[in-house]
Symmetry: C2
Subunit: 140 residues, 2 copies
């Protein structure tokens, strides 16, 4: 089922500071502009690597789901891993049939790449918050 | 400096259980055999994806550095992110010059892919334990 590792989600208290880290310290050469995803309560910024991406996420709004993560990890840290799947609804149905807890009542949302995504609770995923996204038709 | 996202390191109390998860629940189709890296104190097993890998790591021996991680995260979780660099010593020198804390006194070790690696302390990397590895001459 899972295909490419599309991105690693990294939570940060400050996308600006993280961009400095990836650009000036680690020497990443392709970093997008930050943008807001209001419904998800996050600012998002992609660090583009030749084969994958780091998705920097910073809380947006007081009820952002990333706030609890940052309370436990004030400097930030690895938040989720995202794998591509061919069909999000087929993937969701398969996971639910196998007993995995799909968040948001199993309802796909449109993610930062403009394609539908679901999240699977870390308790069923070896402590890893797993995002599945439908393979985008064009890669950045 | 950083090139491809070579792998995401995922700590687990049981590689066998994690293999079941990635194979039977997430449907990964290419998973290697587990092997021990005595000096690093870990069992290792790679889940191969089309563009990258998940590196499952389980403690080996009583002094394994992964034990402390699992005490905090008993189900396991994301442990590190590994980026490829062209030359590990040049990367190390560059990071040290920029003030980053390179573990093991800055001395590269041979990693699970048979090429030299270094680890950078998460305190300088936005809470993420960053591994840098010299690009392998052949990818799996």
């Amino acid at each position: 089922m899972i295909g490419k590792l599309n991105h690693v989600g990294v939570a940060t208290p400050s996308i600006e500071e993280s961009v400095k880290l990836y650009r000036d310290i680690l020497g990443a050469t392709s970093i997008g502009e930050k943008f807001v995803m209001e419904e998800q309560g996050v600012w998002v910024c992609f660090v583009n690597l030749p084969n994958s991406q780091i998705e920097l996420i910073e809380p947006y709004g007081e009820t952002s789901p990333v706030r609890a993560f940052l309370e436990k990890n004030p400097k930030g840290g690895q938040h989720h891993v995202c794998f591509e799947v061919e069909n999000i609804e087929a993937a969701r149905d398969d996971l639910v049939a196998k007993g995995a807890a799909v968040l948001n009542g199993g309802k796909p949302r449109i993610g930062a790449h403009g394609v539908p995504v679901i999240f699977v609770h870390p308790k069923d995923m070896g402590g890893v918050l797993v995002e599945l996204m439908e393979t985008p038709t064009s890669h950045p």
